[in-house]
Amino acid sequence: MGDNKINYSRRSFLKSTALAGGGLMISFNWLSEFGQDDKIKMFDLPEQWHELNGYIKITPDNVIKILNPNPEFGQNVMTSLPMIVAEELDAEWQKVVVEMGPHDTVKLGPQFTGGSNSVKMYWKPLREAGAAARQMLKEAAAQTWSVPVEEITTKGAVLFHAKTNRAGTYGEFASKASGIPIPKEVKLKDVKNFNVVRNSKKNVEGLKIITGKPLFGMDYNQEGMLIAMIEHPPAFGMKLKSFDASQTLQMPGVKDVFTLKLYEDGFEQGGFDTRTFNDLLVVVGNNTWEVMNARKKLKATWEPAGVMKETVAGRSGKKEVIIPGELESTGAQFAKMQEYAKQPAEQLRKDGDPETAFKNAAQVIERTYNAPFLAHNCMEPMNFFAHVTDEKALVAGPLQAPGWSEPTLAKLLNLPADKIEIQMTRMGGGFGRRAYGHYLYEAALISKKVKAPVKLIYTREDDMSYGIYRPMYTATYRAALDSNKKLIAFHVKGGGIPEHPIHANRFPAGAVDNYLAEGWQIPSNITIGAFRAPRSNFNAAAEQSFLDELAEAMGKDPIDFRLELLKRAKENPVGKNNDYDADRYAGVLQLVREKSGWNKPENKKYSRGVAAYFCHNSYAAHVVDMIMTNGQPYVERVFSAIDCGIVVNPDAATNMVQGAVVDGIGNAFYGGLTHKNGAVEQNNFHRYKIIRMHEAPKKIEVHFVQNDIDPTGLGEPPFPPVFGAVANALYKAAGKRLYQQPYGPQLNTRRAF
């Protein structure tokens, strides 16, 4: 037994090195940056689990455990990624045990959740992992039974040799299989023969969620854990001047009050190290409510931070970024944007001769669209647990990309990465917000300072006013029509605080002879970050509304008009690098036209708006059916057509699209932050309106284009076109075009809360 254990452990080590050398994970090409010394650790596995590779462990009793590599925030990768492994492994899905994997990018891949990438990037590697393990099990059986491996078949975690009428479970051969070299090549199943993938499977954590089991960062607990909160400045552009904690320290349960610097001067920030405030005023105590109360007794004074210089790591080395010091107000920001919109801007793309085309046009249509800052408002506010000592750190909580934050954390704590353990809890929403690890760093520095395990909690107010928002955007679209009402030129000039939204190579680039895209930005001390389909979440609204107006001016049906342009883009594309597949784009429009009964007389009672968009590698089109009740618009039903390639878990994917539609309607109608002298004017749900049950549609019918393209991503693509479809439906319902988001206030919509 003892000998077996030693051998097994060494085998695991060897397997890890084989993986690091690229034996199995041939689809991951970043492995070269991890030296074998950095990441390999001896596994202290209980002897009954036999590990075939990073994702698969099997017991002698044939219990198969599959690890989910990617952090979960509601996109249900916890179910879909293990499904992919189980399929090629040929396990019985009902009996598979799924567990969240540890942070180990050598054995488990990139482990980041974002950009609608999880299924897309893990598709091939997980299939290979499952197939390789199956091959090793077959090899083990073949050796044991002394038969050719080609004659071994599998079904539901059992191996068969028909000729000699033998059978054995995976569990019986797991130990032997774990000692077999990982095959260099594996044969994958025909996608038409899947019996797990492409079949709807229930959320593996469903029962835990609905019985209130501890799952989220907020639920993480450890003996002796303290609670910490940060009293951030009341406005962007401000910093701490002085504080008096004398009353705070007398409050029950308070342990300490102190200041902490997040980054030292000149610290080189990575792309996801964005933070709003650097000087932290921290209160630490025994429990949440006591710390909340103690904070109220803090006497703090604040002063303008002035112009700041940040060092940011760029693609070509580090660069200095100047952050302005003004305390910004929305009205002034809006006025400044209108000024900038008139100035020359950076040319992002030009095809043909748009200047001449516009000069000679019979008709020029110009429209300007605007949208405010948006708060992510994940249902679970920012929080993180940390226990940091001089030797090591254990951190646990909601985080989209541990690998993106670990290098900075290691620097801040002055610990090597292999002494840092990052546990990924389930996240109560992400939407891009949790890719930015500032709250992880804050928790860790606080724990290090107080020499105790600490959970840092942001209240809803802290969370909503901290920043890392979706930027404030504007875009002016111009179209030139000739005397036959043919579209001869298209111009988009987009701007934003602090970034512009333009994707210059997206449709209708490629479909118009003369095309110009420009972008400009106004720097700000209001921090921003990725928000579900960055840039696209505004572009689709503006562009798809504009295309609707063009179609109307040309006397064309809006879907026909788009299909005409797509036909041109396919058959005789303009320019280079057109960032979409015209066929697939047209495909979702055709599908939504069919399924929504577009132009059918029985749907006349609805005010119908259509929009389509391509982003994050997938295509989405929606028809939004609106009715007016007592002068208020209501989206009663939506038809959605999606092309995301192979759909791993159809019902969960449908849930995702429905959620994106509801999210889009809510943000289009209500979402928006305003500022006054740097202070955000909405810091909880009584001021920042989130869509509720009675405002959600009665029906959202989702259709997926059936094809065998490798999965291309689904978290973000359905979201952007919802805004455009809503705007276009509103035009029909309310009789006016809306150019400023959120749309609700312009319609005298009764605010429910």
């Binding site: 609905i210 429990n287 999210d663 509720r692 959600a696 009665k698 959202i700």
Partner: protein, 154 residues
């Protein structure tokens, strides 16, 4: 010292009587199924039953719960088999899952009072529960399904 009856069990806690029930549950008793979302009764994530009524535990002082019956998501059923929980699984409702305890607790009160709710009844009863992931349509369907299960049981 305060004595509380939660999910038919007796607990004694040494807390300020003004501490909201939410934080007693989460920080003192380890019952973390009830969630914090806003702290001002706007989002519904903290919904629990106090003598059968849905209350927002984030603004309910624990003193109000002394001598009363509190039920949280953990105690809604013995084995996660309340009709709502069964319907939630049947229709695979949750996405991130953070709001779902509050949704179910609010829905449970609706179903106790109304065995055959219409869409409008559901919308009205559930208006206080935010779902950021947008699972409202499935929540609505699950409430209908649970109501049907309840009616069949008699």
């Amino acid at each position: 010292m305060l004595t509380l009856n939660i999910n038919k069990k007796s607990y004694t806690v040494d807390v300020d009587p003004d501490m909201p029930l939410l934080w007693v549950l989460r920080d003192k008793l380890g019952l973390v199924g009830t969630k914090y979302g806003c702290g001002m009764a706007q989002c519904g994530a903290c919904a629990v039953h106090l003598n059968g009524e849905a209350v927002r535990s984030c603004v309910t002082k624990v003193s109000r719960a002394v001598g009363q019956q509190v039920v949280t998501i953990e105690g809604l059923s013995e084995a996660g088999d309340h009709p709502l929980q069964k319907a939630w699984i049947e229709l695979d409702v949750p996405q991130c899952g953070y709001c779902q305890s509050g949704q179910i607790m609010s829905a449970a009160v609706l179903l106790r009072e109304n065995s055959n709710p219409t869409d409008q009844d559901i919308d009205a009863a559930m208006a206080g529960n935010i779902c950021r992931c947008g699972t409202y349509l499935r929540i609505r369907s699950a409430i209908h399904l649970a109501a049907e299960m309840q009616r069949k049981k008699g």
